[in-house]
């Protein structure tokens, strides 16, 4: 028996079963749900519309085949491949912004023989690999300015390419890399600032800039007034007051001048400022009806009415969670959330156990991207976040997304398995 064969055997043997089974479960659940969302109750089995479900089956097949190949590759291969993979998809992602097909307002697809290739989905994987590659040495310190700059641009370029494609949703996902950097020792200040900015942003949009500014100044005044050393406290509080006011001003400016009318409308609907169930709020309203009408146990598989009869738009892609909420109810929805929670925790746990930093950073990257997708997607369908069209990982219909997430999971499993065999 050759060394390669032995290694392969042990890699398959030591692959993390809970994570792999969870991944398989998600893929199958996605297939079933897509079948249900295109299911036509008036047709029998032979004439049943199942085009998208069959295509997704093919995508899942390709993903699994890819994972088998990944598992047989040398772990160091991914480290070496990272820059190339990143650059190829960055290039494609920029290219697609100019020559791609436009679907739903975003120019994000290459059309290849009836299938659409979305480079942006693969670029997420590329960026994770690239970040892990840059931080692979244990000695690399995040405090160093040069690595900070490099990381900044590694994330910035994809974001710019996605904005060029008008794919704001995917661009937003890159914010999740802050979690990775936080784990790798970056000061939490940036994240704290981000959360504070979010709170101020919502306040500003919900009321107006004067009220948010008033709240900031009022709180600062109280803080200063109650302090024993007023002058020093005042000076220190300026470091909060000035950025806060800048945030408020820029949110107001961005809302009025940068955002497209439809994006503004989506935000208004989300914040409850306008009640527009026919127009911009239609998607969310229908989505809430579908999920809300599911009740405790749901209407049963293939029995959903809102999703089945096309009331919910994009139901097999971005709004696939509606079908689950409607057909499997509260219990089904919670079980799905628990499954995702398990996957995220498992990845974080496995990441911490990685012997090398590449593996750990990679794991965190995967978890962050998955988390961002889950939060934005489900948050949208249950009306907590604005309508931002990104897929629900491994469930939504879509080849690029399905395969890209498959590759992410495959590499994660390969890196982890290598750790256990000690064979890397």
């Amino acid at each position: 028996m050759s060394g390669t064969a032995r290694r392969q055997q042990s890699v398959f043997q030591y692959v993390d079963k809970p994570l792999m089974l969870s991944y398989i479960a998600l893929c199958l659940l996605g297939l079933l749900t897509i079948y249900s969302s295109v299911y036509d109750a008036g047709q029998d089995w032979m004439n049943q519309e199942r085009g998208n479900a069959m295509k997704q089956l093919a995508f899942v097949g390709i993903s699994w085949l890819s994972i088998v190949i990944i598992l047989s590759l040398d772990a160091r291969f991914f480290e070496g491949l990272a820059p190339l993979f990143y650059l190829i998809f960055l290039f494609l992602s920029v290219l697609v912004a100019f020559v791609g097909n436009e679907i739903n307002g975003a120019r994000a697809w290459f059309s290849i023989g009836g299938f659409g290739l979305q480079p942006g989905e693969f670029l997420k994987l590329g960026t994770i690999l690239m970040i892990a590659f840059l931080l692979r040495e244990k000695s690399t310190q995040l405090r160093s300015q040069s690595i900070k700059n490099t990381l900044f641009f590694v994330v910035l370029f994809p974001v710019v390419s996605l904005l060029l494609q008008k794919d704001t949703g995917s661009a937003l996902v890159y914010a999740s890399f802050l979690l990775v950097l936080y784990r790798e020792g970056m000061s939490p200040l940036l994240m704290q600032l981000g959360i504070w900015a979010l709170i101020l942003g919502v306040l500003t949009l919900l009321f107006d800039e004067k009220i948010s500014a008033g709240i900031v100044l009022g709180l600062s005044f109280l803080y200063v007034a109650l302090s024993s050393q007023r002058w020093r406290t005042f000076l220190r509080s300026l470091t909060y007051i000035i950025p806060s006011l800048l945030i408020i001003a820029s949110v107001e400016f961005a809302y009025e001048n940068v955002l497209q009318p439809h994006q503004k409308k989506r935000i208004d609907v989300l914040l409850g400022k306008v009640d527009d169930v026919k127009g911009a709020g239609y998607n969310v309203h229908q989505s809430l009806i579908a999920i809300g009408s599911g009740g405790l146990l749901g209407k049963g598989y293939l029995e959903g009415t809102q999703t089945k009869f096309d009331f919910v738009p994009e139901q097999s892609t971005d709004f696939i969670f509606c079908t689950i909420g409607e057909e499997f109810g509260f219990v089904g929805s919670i079980l799905l959330l628990l499954l995702y929670l398990f996957v995220l925790f498992r990845i974080l746990q496995l990441s911490e156990l990685q012997g090398n930093r590449f593996g750990r950073v990679y794991g965190y990257g995967v978890a962050s991207v998955l988390f961002a997708h889950i939060v934005v997607n489900i948050g949208m369908t249950i009306g907590l976040l604005p309508v931002i069209g990104i897929p629900l990982p491994l469930l939504s219909y879509g080849g690029s997304s399905q395969i890209a997430f498959g590759l992410m999971m495959g590499i994660m499993l390969r890196l982890d398995s290598g750790r256990r065999t000690g064979l890397n």
């Binding site: 009806i289 009408s293 599911g294 009869f309 096309d310 909420g325 929805s333």
Partner: protein
Amino acid sequence: MKFSEEQRVLQISIIVVFGIFALRLFYLQIIDDSYEIWSRQNSVRREIVYPARGVIFDRNRERVVVNRPIYNLMVVPRQVKTDMDTAAFCRLLGIERKTFEERMNQIVRHSRFKPSIFAAQISVEEFAAIQEGLFEFPGFYAESRAVRYYPRPVAGHLLGYTGEVNDKDIDASSGYYLPGDYIGIAGLEKTYEPYMRGLRGIRYRYVDVHNRVVGSYKDGTLDSGATPGHELELSIDIKLQEYAEQLMRNKRGSVVAIEPESGEILVMVSAPGYDPNLMVGKARTRHYKVLSRDSLKPLFNRPIQAQYPPGSIFKPFQALVAQQLGVVNPSTRYPCGGGYRMGSHTVKCTHVHGALDLTESIQFSCNPYYCWTFKNVIDHHSSGSPPSKMYETWRDYMDQFAFGRRTGIDIPNETKGVLPRNAYFDRYHGKGRWRANTIISLSIGQGEIALSPLQMATSMSAVANGGWYYAPHLVRSVGSGDDKRHFRGKKFETGIDKPYFAVVHEALQRVVDAGTATAYGKIEGITVCGKTGTAQNPHGKDHAVFVCYAPRENPKIAVAVIVENAGFGGVWAAPIASLLIEKYLKGEIKRPELEKRLLETNIL
């Protein structure tokens, strides 16, 4: 296992976010049930299944009124493609482009989202052609309704018509009617509305976002089918009705024929009439307007609403009542010198009859005979009662023949005619200040008396039967099979003893055989008993009246014919009644010249 502080923070963040999601889901799916209601409103369409209205048959089970499907072409403007091929669509419907644009603008002003009727009342034949091409035009679809159809365009007045309910009907129905429902508005459709309307059904269907039906809700377990309305079987003989209407063409007036033994109305014509198919659906309002402006008043239901002084046809009834009161007997004679003189005024007679007996007085329609009779009934009765009291006694007998009161026919708006009570004359002339001569016109069926053609035919039935009759009615039975309910009018006794009819029967036969109606009344092989009359018309030429029944031995049909402005009853009214009887009893006409002359006559 050792966790880094950063990992802890991340784990807690994830749990917090998922926890918020779980709470939100709990709220949406468990606590707030408004989404379930929204869901049903969204995808379950409650469709009304309109019941088929009861079909109407005639006495020979011929279909008189049936239901005919029609289509409304509906449009939901929002679903109409902006780039639709308008020219092709106009060709399909056979309309002008301008019409299309005007109609669309009108609809859009009303609503973009709600279905509106683009074209109403499209017949099945027309729609078949349209349907083939309709799929190319999203936003347009057909809705089917049923409207009434009359295979023979006759009997509109008695059948009535249906139309959409108004707000008053809806309020009064305590929930039965909904906007858009049809209701009987006139005639039998109105009287028998509760039987014929049936019961609405409800059907729940799943619809998709394009409002297309995709299946039944809960496998139809909540659906309730529509219960069709009950059928009606009329006493009308629709073929005879059609024949009578043909005879009355280009004439104004009425024909009423009743089967004496049952009170069943065989024919009831109001001329001029109209094609009941004009009173169907959306076109009804337009046609109604045109008909209501017609100077010939085709909408006026003459047999039950018009009233005429009966003239000489009143004489047989005078004869009957006077016999019952013991004033005259068959051998009583009164002198006729060409008139009945009272002071300065004379009631003229057509001839100088000399002294006729009772039979001859009817046969030759002698006016003075009835003036004397009436005078003796009212003024000189052996009971010694004052004229006012005697008038009331006389009036009570007349009431038994349905004079001055409604017959009780089963369609609305019947007139009761005119025949005042004594109180009226007390008011008019003063109490105790009037006598027979004051109201002497009544003796010959003029003055304060007016009868509807229906009352004339009804009273003829009573004569034919020898003293009794059933209130005339149009419907024999409602429903079918085990649920069949038979209808029959109330039975009335006139209070005139049967022997007194013998002389009247004899006289009426002689009128036709050798009297005033000889020329056109006689039918080979049938003994017809009848009486001519001339209803005085202060506005123009007198109206011709003829009442009769046949055969004398076993009366099967009693007829009243009024031809307005046609002069003497024997010339125009008698032949129509005669032809009708011949047709009914023999099934064919042996007098084609007479028939031809009547069909071609125009006395408008």
